[in-house]
């Protein structure tokens, strides 16, 4: 191979290297959401009610405890699972039972779920149970209009109930 051909070969190979780096650094474009699709996210972290009721210790029982542990109320540590249901336009989109975290099952129950939904106007309804009986004691609903690629977040706080951010 003569010198000119070698240099030409080098130029081609260096060009291919630069081309490969330049192209794959931004292409091909990844279609994450199709046109006309939006995103619904359900996420919260909530400490449910205890599985059992608290009881008051008697005086005799309290006296047996070390002085620093003499607290009148005795509550079980374990919390109930949180059951959450989400409806989109009257149809159930998601139902999940979320166990409490922690080795003693006394922590918060958390969730993060994402759903691809068609853009447009939707009626969202959510309900949540955080008690041992499984009764839905929190409810929320809202009509939202989502542009393509818009995100609506369904969050929950015990103090304010369900919130819909979009």
């Amino acid at each position: 191979m003569n010198t000119a051909t070698r240099y030409l070969g080098q130029a081609v190979l260096y060009g291919a290297f630069a081309l490969a780096i330049g192209y794959f650094s931004t292409a091909p474009t990844y279609t994450h959401l199709a046109p006309g699709e939006a995103l619904l996210k359900l996420s919260f972290s909530h400490g449910a009610q205890r599985v059992g009721a608290c009881r008051d210790r008697g005086d005799e029982e309290l006296a047996k405890l070390p002085p620093n542990m003499r607290i009148r109320q005795d509550c079980p540590r374990e919390r109930s699972p949180v059951i959450v249901e989400l409806e989109l336009d009257g149809a159930r989109l998601h139902r999940e039972s979320l166990p409490p975290s922690g080795l003693s099952r006394d922590g918060s129950a958390s969730v993060y779920r994402r759903f691809v939904v068609p853009a447009g106007t939707h009626r969202l309804a959510a309900r949540l149970s955080d008690n041992a009986k499984g009764e839905f004691n929190y409810r929320g609903e809202k009509t939202v209009t989502l542009a393509p690629a818009q995100i609506v977040v369904v969050e929950f706080h015990a103090s304010s109930g369900f919130q819909f951010f979009h």
């Binding site: 794959f24 990844y30 918060s108 994402r114």
Partner: protein, 507 residues
């Protein structure tokens, strides 16, 4: 099965390398310096990164705005630096993967190489952690997509009390301190990567950590040209209320996100963990019975240190001489590191066939083919040589099969590595020809330049023959009677052609 697939893959890799050899020459062939190019790109990233860091502001809006100011406000330097940082990172992944493929098809994952192989596995994770974190710093749509996808991926692992993805749930969820943490991580993780790369090369001597100057400059020029032709730009600023629908992904780093969304986090983790486990377990694959390691003969070792200097795997060191009243130092072989290549025996000045001792014992030698046995083979073969252009062909077991060129007037010898050949043997074979019954020429072959199975066997041999490295071939040996023709396994036809041309010249 494994061997068959690997053999076919090796053929393909060598064919590509041969194309690059023709264009670049073996010395400047980037495919023969992939590890060195990895280090080189790391330093390009480090230098450009320090510059970028000086202008980077940590903050939800400041991060994006400061990168935009740098990219457009001083496109001639800041913009180029940013592009260089990005493209060097991409090139780093490219050479890292090619390096991995090349070492895999060469079966360089077992035996004495287990340490280098195993320590390479965490560098893959650290490289990706460094690169993906870098993307987040820009805080554009790509960063938003990557941050959300990564946390959703990690949330599949039962490690976190609260989902990490909640940190990117709404625009209000991200705060300025997040970017301080990110910039700290983007310095800390690359430093860990550098540490891992340093550990990776600890068991090799004279590690190839810098490409040849010409290759380095031209590669940098190619990257710089790319920076000007296609500068790295940010996408639109991140907005956690809008999901990026079309993402201009960097596929070198972010391919795992589409993989996860098109399959599931479990499958993406399965592939990542599975690949990691496979790589980590590769040294446990069945391997050929290891050859005996080098052996030191203290009475014949004067502690000159040439074996120490030439050993490619730092397996030989000098210790106080065990025989009192002789020399101060002697060689000692670390059996765990020894590759059984015999390069040390080729470097030993006592490995000369001209010694009149009945049994030739070298200071350091290979039990499977001692210098004395080599001399006996040579002597026996030389007496059988006849006809014009009597030629001794010395090759190695890792390269082109020298027995393929056996014929009338040709004596072939195969060593564990061509670096195992003491240069005095060349002179020995040629000097006997004057007395009749010897050789008219010696043809040396072995792995192609930059492709020695034991790293330096061919390079040291070339330097010894050229008189540039001790022990060297004496200057009075006529060089036209010595020919070097490197040929890899599978290139026996090329070796035969080189031999024919050499013998024609000798005749």
């Amino acid at each position: 099965m494994e061997s068959n697939i690997r053999t076919q893959a090796l053929k393909a890799v060598r064919a590509v390398e041969a194309v690059f050899d023709r264009a670049f020459g073996a010395r400047d062939n980037p495919l023969r310096h992939l590890g060195a190019l990895g280090f080189y790109f790391f330093w390009v990233m480090a230098v450009s990164g320090i510059y970028l860091y000086a202008f980077y502001d940590t903050g939800v809006t400041e991060a994006y705005n400061s990168v935009e100011r740098l990219t457009h406000g001083q496109w001639y330097l800041g913009g180029v630096m940013r592009s260089l940082h990005r493209y060097a990172a991409d090139a780093f992944v490219l050479v890292m993967v090619l390096h991995l493929v090349k070492e895999t098809v060469n079966a360089r994952y077992r035996g004495f190489r287990w340490f280098s192989w195993l320590t390479g596995v965490p560098t893959l994770w650290l490289a990706y952690a460094s690169g993906i974190g870098g993307y987040w710093l820009v805080w554009d749509e790509v960063a938003q997509f990557s941050a959300t996808a990564t946390t959703e991926w990690f949330d599949w692992l039962p490690l976190f009390g609260e989902p990490l993805a909640r940190n990117f749930l709404t625009p209000a969820a991200v705060n300025d301190r997040f970017f301080s943490l990110l910039s700290f991580l983007h310095i800390g993780i690359p430093l860990l990567l550098l540490l891992a790369m340093w550990v990776h090369i600890q068991r090799v001597s004279l590690a190839d950590v810098a490409p040849p100057r010409r290759l380095g400059w031209v590669t940098l020029a190619a990257l710089a040209a790319l920076c000007v032709a296609k500068p790295a730009l940010s996408a639109a600023a991140a907005n956690l209320a809008i999901e990026p629908a079309q993402v201009a992904l960097d596929w070198f780093y972010l391919f795992v996100h589409p993989l996860m969304y098109r399959s599931s986090p479990a499958i993406a983790w399965g592939l990542a963990f599975g690949a990691t486990l496979l790589l980590a377990a590769a040294p446990l694959l069945p391997k050929p019975k290891p050859a005996p390691v080098a052996r030191v003969s203290p009475p014949d070792c004067n502690g000159c240190g040439r074996c120490v200097a030439d050993c490619p795997f730092s397996a030989v060191r000098l210790i106080p001489h065990t025989l009192k009243g002789t020399y101060k130092l002697q060689a000692q072989v670390d059996t765990a590191l020894c590759a059984s290549c015999g390069i040390c025996a080729g470097a030993c000045p006592s490995s000369t066939p001209f010694r009149s001792a009945g049994e030739l014992v070298s200071g350091i030698d290979m039990p499977q083919l001692p210098i004395d046995a080599l001399r006996r083979q040579l002597n026996a073969g030389l007496t059988q040589l006849s006809g014009p252009a009597r030629t001794v062909v010395v090759g190695c077991d890792c390269a082109a099969d020298v027995t393929s060129v056996t014929g009338k007037g040709v004596l072939v010898l195969s060593l564990p590595c061509i670096g195992n050949l003491p240069p005095a043997f060349i002179e020995y074979a040629l000097r006997r020809s004057r007395q009749g019954g010897g050789a008219d020429g010696v043809l040396i072959t072995g792995c192609r330049e930059g492709d020695c199975a034991y790293r330096f066997g061919n390079e040291w041999t070339e330097q010894r023959v050229a008189g540039e490295r001790e022990p060297h071939l004496r200057l009075n040996v006529p060089r036209h009677r010595v020919q070097i023709a490197w040929a890899n396994g599978g290139e026996e036809a090329a070796l035969a052609r080189s031999l024919a041309v050499f013998r024609a010249a000798l005749a």
